[in-house]
Amino acid sequence: MVEKHVTQYQTVHFNLNGRDVERTVDVRASLTDMLRNDFRMTSVKKGCEVGECGACNVLIDGEAFNSCIYLAVWAEGKHIRTLEGLLGPNGELSDIQQAFVDEAAIQCGFCTPGFILTAVEILESGKEYSDDQLRKLLSGHLCRCTGYENILRAVKKTMYRRLGKELPNHE
């Protein structure tokens, strides 16, 4: 016997990368589903889908969240940023994106958008972190290619550059 399912929809209003938007979504959708399918924000990757790998990470009101375990309807009234929001008006890369390129912190690229958005949260705090603190702050992301060192270096270099300080030269 198949129980009849009535699909439940809800209209969600939020700000996506600086633009006010609204969409009527199936309440069963995750934020990843909505960002990818309704807004073509394909930087938001579907990885593990259980909140372990960090590939779907986005910034919600300035904090990093795995969008795969976040209901789309919870976006109501929130400010959401994805990697697409970091680009300049003519598609220029931001400093942290350029640092990932320069430091070869990207190989297959699947984890990169998630890592970069966590890096943005770290950088926008305006604080100076030690290597151990940075490793902990970046620990919610899995990368199977780089071995993490180049990612750490990209974030660290950008942190010092934004703080207007010299990179300590004991590397």
Partner: protein, 293 residues
């Protein structure tokens, strides 16, 4: 898409209570870092959900007039760690919840969800046990408060009755005043792992810092639910601060706990790390309190 039958979003605590009564089989969802993962695994397939995530009145930490520290049930782990009141009065709680999962999990995970799951490995639970926290539930008859020890019934089962939701966690002043604590999470990885054993100790020293007035220790994963180690606490109470006391205190833990064999660790190994963690956490707590040993 999550495999859910229906979603009910509460607009207030009273609305949540009404939704609970109207849909008694529905699962409450706070941050969802357990519930949504379980749905993905098919464990709650086809469930109805009552979302309380939007209830901002259940977020934040404040000091009540009698000095009770109130933590709103939906306060996220990262907000607890950053909170100035927590840092001042129960720093060990901020330290403990800073070891849950990874950064994104600590932004979504709530202390209410962590305790309502009823799991022994919850990183917040041992510290809340060690501070005699009081769980506040709001239901159709109003507010009910009970000690966290009574809130946990058995593994995965807590005392939430029909129509109720957890609205706050209270730490009485008598419990946290003048105490200093330390939490040790033993796990295979530093991030994104569940505790093999969690140990939370706090101590209160005499004015001259020479005597332990009160010591408390609680464990996660030393039994089916988080637990205190009463024999160890009695061993330390009123005794002069010394390394020998740290040894005696931690050895006494064996009398109180009953860890199990699991794929994560054997019973004997858990026993070993319980004693060692209790000793290290005791020494660190005494140091934080200004004692010398």
């Amino acid at each position: 898409m999550y495999d859910m039958k229906a979603l009910y979003q509460a607009s207030s605590v009273q609305d949540a209570v009404a939704l609970r009564l109207a849909h008694p089989d529905a699962q409450i969802i706070a941050g969802g870092s357990d519930v949504l993962v379980q749905m993905r695994e098919g464990k709650r397939a086809g469930a109805e959900l009552i979302s309380i995530y939007g209830l901002d009145e259940l977020r934040g930490i404040k000091l009540e007039e009698d000095g009770t520290l109130r933590i709103g049930s939906l306060t996220s782990f990262s907000h607890i760690t950053r909170d100035p009141l927590i840092q001042q009065y129960v720093n060990v709680l901020g330290e403990a919840v800073d070891q849950v999962g990874g950064p994104q999990i600590r932004n979504i995970g709530t202390i209410g969800g962590n305790t309502c799951n009823g799991v022994t490995s919850a990183d917040s639970a041992s510290t809340l046990f060690a501070y005699d926290a009081v769980i506040e539930l709001t239901g159709p008859e109003g507010v009910r408060r009970l000690p966290i020890q009574e809130f946990y019934i058995r593994a995965g089962k807590v005392d939430i009755r029909a129509g109720e939701i957890q609205t706050g966690i209270l730490i009485p002043r008598e419990s946290y005043e003048n105490t200093f604590g330390h939490y040790i999470k033993y796990a295979m990885r530093n991030a994104m792992d569940i505790a093999t054993l969690g140990t939370s100790v706090n101590v209160r020293l005499s004015a001259d810092k020479k005597t332990v007035e009160r010591a408390r220790v609680a464990f996660g994963v030393a039994g089916p639910i988080p637990m205190r180690a009463a024999t160890a606490e009695r061993t330390a109470a009123g005794q002069p601060v010394s390394l020998e006391l740290a040894e005696a205190f931690s050895a006494a833990v064996r009398e109180d706990i009953n860890p199990r064999d699991s794929w994560r660790a054997a019973r004997d190994f858990r026993m070993h790390i319980a004693v060692e963690s209790a000793k290290r956490a005791f020494i660190e707590s005494v140091r934080l309190a200004g004692g010398e040993l």
